[in-house]
Symmetry: C2
Subunit: 239 residues, 2 copies
DNA sequence: CAGTGGTCTAGACCACAGT
DNA sequence: CTGTGGTCTAGACCACTGG
């Protein structure tokens, strides 16, 4: 469990075996056989329970699959909820060039709504960052985000990053979980101006509460041009 | 692993221990201590590795949490992607009464698009089921669904169920995974008539591909009144 | 038949918590 | 200090698979 905390010199045997098998299996096709447990026992000179501990971890991880009487095999990749993507990554994945234009970036005191959403106290410092997002040069979305300043001290002074999620990542605060609410609406005058659409055109509104571990790092409201953006979500339990 | 396949008489020790601990812990508050491993060794007269196998399963399940040097404790419930809900359940959860009015229900041959989405062959039999959904008596959504007829023989003849997902559930085909695409739009004339809104009013369009295990059981397009419906989604990896 | 994973034993030493 | 979980050993028998 705590291999990252182990000092340099130590190397737990089950970890050695696990990583050996992982490296063997890394680029193998699904269905390829992994070494048998008894083969690993001989190769590493360890007890079978130790080998099983190593293999168990890889099975739980979804990398291997045991078939009684036959052997252990590379599992077909399980369906999984994708990594949580920021706007720039999302656009890159769609083959578009994502750009941002900052409309507002300043330190504020949290109002009651933002404070509740960020799980902080009203009046605490927050970063308010509003951006116009483009894709291949054409307006795509307006994002209005609030960040918990306590978690990212000096954020405004350090120069605004291109990708918020990358910036959070570098602080060990990449969101891995988000709660979104999504609704359809029509664009207001102001939104229409920024997005270069007609007032009354359809837009998709997304409110996000993004967490890194237990910490709420970002709450935001985004409004997307409906004619340019479709949201994809996977729901339920992989498997 | 295969406790369900085990004959009546057999009872694997690690399963006995696991279920004993599970029952102890079922209604316990997070943070409550579970029996220590050595205590279970004495209680069941088994080896410690056997107890660990039992506890490991509960830890992987997220029910228990080990703290080295302290003991094993009931874990706080992990964040999890919710069970995939059908319309009726979704409305119930929101405190609304969900009702359906069938607009169309018949057997058809799959066209190319539906066939691809259902992972079947063009011309295969499908159930085409179009419904107007109400919440507390007011139109909420129009759902146009296609079901793989091979998976649910006699579906049309058996009387249309109130809840599609419950009906699938009873056949062991409750969807546990869905891929949705969501976009905003304005209502067409026909949609506006059904939904009792003005043409041009904002609507949320949701295309769903729902799977039970590996089988695609349902593909559907729904159009929701934006003034009455907000979609909630959780993204990322629980934990 | 030989080989596989699944289960199980009866010990052992370690690092770490709390008293 | 005692008690905890974490690691590890060197065997064993079982049910199952495939040739």
């Amino acid at each position: 469990m705590n291999e990252l905390l182990v000092g340099e010199g130590r190397a737990l045997k089950h970890v050695q075996v696990r990583e050996y098998v992982r490296s063997l299996v890394k680029d193998a096709a699904p269905g390829s056989p992994a070494p048998s447990e008894r083969e690993l026992v001989h190769r590493f000179g360890v007890a079978r329970m130790t080998v099983r501990q190593a293999m168990d971890a890889l099975v739980v991880e979804g990398l291997l699959e045991r078939i009684p009487g036959r052997g252990t095999f590379v599992a077909r990749p399980r369906r999984e909820v994708g990594r949580l993507l920021g706007y720039t990554e999302e656009m890159t994945r769609r083959g578009l060039l994502g750009e941002s234009q900052t409309l507002l970036a300043r330190r504020e005191q949290a109002g009651p709504g933002v404070a509740r959403a960020l799980s902080i106290t009203e009046g605490d410092a927050v970063i308010h960052w509003k951006r116009l997002r483009r894709a291949d040069g054409v307006p795509m979305c307006i994002e209005d985000a609030y960040l918990n300043e306590i978690l990212i001290p000096g954020f405004l002074q350090s120069g605004m990053p291109t990708s918020l999620y990358d910036a959070l990542d570098s602080r060990g605060l990449r969101p891995t979980w988000a709660e979104d609410s999504i609704t359809a609406d029509v664009a207001s005058e102001e939104e229409a101006g920024h997005l270069e659409i007609d007032p009354g055109a359809a837009v998709l509104r997304q409110s996000r509460r993004a967490l890194a571990g237990e910490k709420v790092v970002e709450v935001s409201r985004s409004v997307y041009r409906a004619d340019r953006f479709t949201l994809w979500v996977q729901l339920g339990s992989p498997g």
